[in-house]
């Protein structure tokens, strides 16, 4: 017992220097738990009793400590749904945009074709007019032909 106490005092010194091993600290803990200790060591008894009491503080696992138990529909799916709706919106906007773009293009092309048709039409009518003029003038060509044959006719020699 005397021997023990001496050993304990040495351990306490080491303990206060922060140099004890876990084993030595367990030894001290055991000593202060079981023995009737000398008055001058009472503060250490309180200290080690407090430590062991704190170590045993139990607390039931709380719901908020178990994020894996969160129903999948409430957290993950909500997140998924959000993404889903976001992409749906993007798609809708894209479709609307491209739709108006294509119909606008179609309208433009139709207009262009109409203009081209009208232009071709007026070009044809111009051609027709000039053709008539040309055939009318071609009549005079005949006169030349006659005149030529009269002048150059070898039978008239």
């Amino acid at each position: 017992m005397r021997m023990d106490l001496q050993k304990i005092e040495i351990l306490i010194e080491k303990y206060l220097e922060g140099k004890t091993t876990l084993k030595e600290e367990a030894l001290l803990g055991n000593f202060f738990q079981m023995e009737e200790v000398p008055t001058h060591l009472m503060p250490y008894k309180d200290l080690f009793a407090f430590f062991s009491k704190e170590r045993e503080t139990a607390i039931a696992p709380l719901k908020q400590w178990a994020p894996w138990e969160t129903p999948k529909s409430s957290l993950r799916d909500l997140e998924k749904q959000w993404w889903h709706s976001k992409w749906t919106n993007v798609a809708v906007v894209l479709i609307l945009f491209s739709g108006s773009f294509f119909s606008g293009r179609q309208y433009y092309q139709k207009k262009q074709a109409e203009i081209a048709y009208n232009q071709t039409l007026s070009a044809f009518s111009l051609l027709a007019q000039n053709y008539q003029k040309a055939t009318a003038s071609a009549v005079y060509l005949n006169e030349f032909e006659q005149a030529k044959t009269k002048i150059y006719n070898p039978n008239n020699k």
Binding site: Y15, L16, E17, G18, K19, L22, E25, A26, M42, P43, Y44, D46, L47, A49, F50, F51, K53, E54, R55, T57, A58, I59, P61, L62, Q64, W65, A66, P67, W68
Partner: protein, 171 residues
Amino acid sequence: MEESAFISFITPLQERLFRVAKRLLVSSQEAQDAVGEVTLKLWDKRDSLTSVQNLDAYAMTMTKNFCLDRLKSKQGNHLRLVHVNYEKPTDSLSESIEHRNSFSIVEKAMELLPEKQKLVVQLRDIEGLSYEEIEAILDMKPTALRVALSRARKTLKENLVKHHAYGLTKN
């Protein structure tokens, strides 16, 4: 990390995280919230946890940082001061009842320690972690850890000796 592996890693650890958080934050409610927050953070990045060497120390460091941030943001919070003031009257009642309870004396002495010393005592004397683990968690050099531990233990002892001396002269 698989869901089942994550659960078997965090569940036995949560009680310890709670005790450390409570040591720093004092309020049980706040310590519960802290453990919840830390668990959720770890859960969200469980896929990258496999690369962490010491998961227990990692979780403990996160808890410590979370609590210290909490305390920092609370400093200069006027509402909190008012709250403490209101708490005082009921406190003194329980104080007088608990006066002879030496646990509360040690607890009070613990509360007076600086944060780092509180953590060191909590992790060593209560949680029984190795010096290497505590050094990793608190990012401390071995000498710094020994000095902090020594100071904390001596302060606790002195406060308890004072209390005992007081008790003796009173009776």
